[in-house]
Subunit: 336 residues, 2 copies
């Protein structure tokens, strides 16, 4: 239990990588060393965190020889290339990309939900998609209580999910609108300020986006419920860094709003914010930089026999990415 | 057919009233005269439209004696007081508020959907809620084709639905953020810039909002299908004036995406924008000041046997309010 780890972060200069650094220190992860890795383009860059200065190194297969755990948040292509190299060298890869999530040999872990699934890992552990992880902070405790059968979800996704460039683009478009100039569009196919885009990630043959199918496939894998039905619409909204999701869920057993609120309030990953009479409900602006996801607007669903409607908001960069990855590292550390 | 009408607008200085003026002229409604009415606070105010200048008069019971048709967009309280006075004086009231929508003696009309229902009006005709009218531009043609049974909806509602003050508040909050000052919050309970609020209209005893229940109750009345099931989550987003809605719908009969697209493209109230491979889908920014509502993202629903998922965007001030009201006036004119 007193082992200290040589930790690496691949994609250390990105939006998620930066939060991983912050959370590793903030949560006192037992580190012997921290190595920041990135593409050759960022190699040599200085990153300061509190009183420490790190020099970014180029991520190469050999980089992992000297590490125990590496957290990857550099996107699918670097993960596909380097995660197997990392694992081969005996370093545990915690991968934020979608590259290995559906691989039957790779556990897909949300520590509050399926920590047991980590035990057979082969040095690769996948971190779920942001909307899935955040939605599960409501779906899982309700599933335990009532037995989840089917759910519909519509998302309100922040631009942080696309990365630093998208956050800068939203800011610069807002400034252009305020200044009365033409907003520049580079990161998204259309202006995101004053707009919403029903389009997150690429379109697949069934006309769903890859992001929408992640909600179905990853939820099935994490909950070990291969028959769950789900249809999701993923929408990008002009919000900086917390996602929200509106969910209608059908359960096996009769539901009660009171019991649902109790189940949420007792669950470690959620904070119940559900006093509609006092205008209290979770909002993305209040759930930035919060470890827990907010759950509220819980009510009897009017179109399902045993159904609940509810609303979740959570920090995309934290529970949706960096925090869940650091929690996986903590789970590894707790099992030694 | 050549009759010309003495038309009045109650709430002429509001966001919807302004659009009613524009649309009456733009669509060449046969007017003998146009009288602009508002609260005593706005009386005497000058309103210019193109080369015409109108002086706003105070709306009083006697105001309707000299009018044939009055379009009310002043909110529930003035409507409750003045609509019956208007009707009593033989002037047909087209009411944008929710005050009379569920009254069994008052037809609730969407001209593309249930024009026949206007025939027994007693000088009061209700205009539906914005989210209902916009959603029906997709739901109705699909209902005709496949037989609607049940639907789930999550909305992305523009601030125009709250009125001019909310549009100004979003602008001023954006300016404050760009300037690095504290955004002022007056109209909504929380900041709307960079945020979304799962709260539109007041909360009811069942923890749904009044806005959410309108979708269920008004859809049942307009489609004359009292058994339709629906559960909706209404969310305010930082968009200026067009609403969007994500819908999962279940039908009586087997569905096909191709037939659904054909039904939408043949329907007068909708524009099909559904070429995901070319990143073509409806967005609020593209459906401002458009008469038709955009429908796209049509796909087989993955959680319903005979289901479709789709996305609608439409101008809240137009199809969601002013345009539908003017279309009702045109329906009245066409029947003389």
């Amino acid at each position: 239990m007193n082992k200290k780890y040589k930790v690496g972060i691949v994609g250390a200069t990105g939006a998620v990588g930066q939060e991983v650094i912050k959370l590793l220190f903030q949560r006192n992860f037992p580190m012997e060393s921290l190595t920041l890795l990135a593409s050759s383009r960022s190699a040599g860059k200085e990153i300061k965190f509190e009183d420490k200065t790190f020099i970014v190194e180029e991520a190469k297969p050999e980089s992992f020889e000297k590490l125990d755990i590496a957290i990857f948040s550099a996107g699918g292509t670097p993960s596909k290339e380097l995660v197997p190299e990392c694992a081969k060298r005996g370093c545990i890869a915690i991968d934020n990309s979608s590259a290995f999530r559906m691989d039957p040999n790779v556990p897909l872990i949300v520590p509050e939900v399926n920590p047991h699934a980590i035990k057979n890992h082969k040095n690769i552990i996948a971190n779920p998609n942001c909307t899935t992880a955040i939605s599960l902070m409501a779906l899982y405790p309700l599933h335990k209580k009532f037995g989840l059968k089917r759910f519909f979800a519509a998302t309100y996704q922040a631009v942080s999910g696309t990365g630093v460039a998208a956050m800068e683009e939203l800011k610069s478009q807002m400034k252009a609108i305020v200044d009365g100039t033409e907003p520049q569009v580079n990161v998204y196919p259309y202006q995101i300020a004053y707009n919403v885009l029903p389009h997150v990630d690429v379109f697949l043959d069934n006309d769903y986006t890859k992001e929408e199918m992640k909600m179905l496939n990853e939820t099935r894998k994490i909950l070990e419920l291969p028959d769950i039905l789900n249809s999701t619409t993923c929408v990008r909204v002009p919000v900086m860094r917390a996602h929200s999701v509106a969910i209608n869920a059908e359960f096996e057993r009769p539901v009660s709003v009171e019991e649902a609120r109790k189940a949420i309030s007792e669950f470690s990953g959620a904070e119940l914010v559900d006093e509609p009479a006092d205008k209290k409900y979770p909002m993305p602006l209040h759930f930035q930089c919060k470890e827990k996801c907010g759950v509220g607007r819980i009510r009897k669903d009017l179109a399902f026999e045993n159904g609940l409607s509810f609303w979740v908001a959570g920090d995309q960069l934290w529970k949706g990415a960096a925090l869940n990855a650091v929690q996986i590292a903590e789970l590894i550390a707790s099992q030694k």
